[in-house]
Symmetry: C2
Subunit: 243 residues, 2 copies
DNA sequence: CATATAAAGTTATCAGACAACCTTACAAGG
DNA sequence: CCTTGTAAGGTTGTCTGATAACTTTATATG
């Protein structure tokens, strides 16, 4: 399919989404103050020139994002600042250096804790998954796609081994973001050269988990993350609590 | 349409949200495979015993959360694993003891890290917010609603002080869940008696943040969390990394 | 003055229709 | 055999109008 570029035909995308975006902008930029009541659905429908269904769907979307709250028989209100708690994270620019740094900063304590908990709670199935990921890592000729997948699998297996469902949820989300950013940054070239080192670090973590030593597992994970960070030219504060 | 049919969904709270939750569960638990097509809106409406509008809103919600994708004229599909980008967490049973424990377990490393980072990066505005929360905490006669709000505000201010947008996002989300669970558990009676102790713990954290000592801030937060956990009859493993 | 009741306004839900879009099948023509 | 046109059917997107549920406010009633 190598044809002329007809993609220019901007098919108007999802009406409710566009309207939700517009109303959301009004709120975020303060033209609709926090706590203030939005116009009624009827009025919004008329001003936007669409049906009430579309407006309703738009409002539902905003409510889902935590930007508005609706009360039947009363109206829709812009959510107060303090209560805006949506865990929705926009797919921002993957090359955003600061966002990347912040994500990594968040990841570190979670992964370290996960390593410690995994060392205590891991089952034999967990250990099998860890070894499987390590094998795939070793099998990968270079640090290509497969290596990245294996890396994700390793950390996911570790998070699962905590026996705490929230760890795979959170760390998986973060790790995926990070690895995506790395991929788009084309840092692969750099990584290819140090596969052996990376694998060695993972093996240390695995051994600690196997032997059931949480302190050692945490230490191994900490050093893995800091070294990986330095390979990515990240500068991070890391604290080690004495005694 | 005259007869009662109690097999259908009870109308206690927002219908679309509940249906979205149910369909979402079907997807997350694999009963609807990734990439598979969902039943048509008409069919879903009939099986749930609601109108198509409600089903549409439910699907819109799921689409918002990145769990389904819709294509006009074709259908709605469960999104492939790789493309799922949002963190979806069920509003589970607040009294679920295990979920509560797991949430707390996740919270600990995050809050500790946040305390350390806050000690390094806090601005004067951050410190003002911390003190404001502390004042409200002190002002509260008993550990009532107001005290809980102040507690949340304190931890939110601390997370904001990290200058890392992800910390308030994640910790705020978790903390709110936890406090909700506590409220519903009617543990207020217990808490009322130890307000002074709780406030004192917060003051120690604040002082460490003010003096810019990350290690001390972490230590203070750690002890606050572990003691709060013991007041809630939670047993947690905590690891302190030696040197 | 307190309480009950009515009225009006708003969101929630329902029902049915048409529009826009996609897929498929099949016929027509090369 | 292959390509193209056409029709049909199914699905989501949008519209319209109505009813139910809920809240607030005003009014009447004792």
């Amino acid at each position: 399919m190598v044809v002329a570029d007809f993609n220019q035909i901007r098919r108007s995308e999802h009406l409710p989404t566009r309207i939700a975006a517009q109303i959301g902008r009004e709120i975020l930029e303060g033209r609709i103050a926090a706590g203030e009541k939005l116009p009624t659905e009827h009025l919004l429908a008329k001003t936007f020139g669409v049906s009430r269904s579309v407006v309703r769907e738009a409002i539902a979307q905003l409510r889902n994002e935590g930007l508005v709250e609706t009360r039947q028989g009363v109206g829709a209100f812009a959510t107060e600042f303090e209560r805006r708690q949506s865990l929705r994270i926009e797919h921002g620019d993957p090359t955003d250096r600061i966002a990347f740094h912040n994500l990594y900063q968040l990841r570190i304590p979670l992964e370290i804790e996960a390593a410690g908990l995994a060392a205590v709670h891991r089952t034999s199935e967990d250990l099998a998954r860890l070894d499987e990921a390590l094998e795939q890592m070793t099998g990968a000729e270079k640090w290509t796609e497969q290596g990245i997948v294996a890396d994700l699998a390793f950390h996911r297996a570790l998070a699962t081994a905590t026996q705490n469902e929230y760890f795979p949820l959170f760390t998986g989300f973060i790790a995926e973001r990070i690895s995506l950013a790395i991929q788009t940054a084309r840092a692969n070239a750099v990584l290819e050269e140090i596969v052996e080192v990376t694998i060695a670090e993972h093996v240390v973590i695995r051994d600690a988990v196997v032997s059931g030593d949480p302190v050692e597992a945490r230490s191994a994970m900490r050093s893995h993350l800091t070294q990986a960070a330095s390979r990515l030219d990240l500068t991070l504060e890391t604290f080690r609590d004495e005694k």
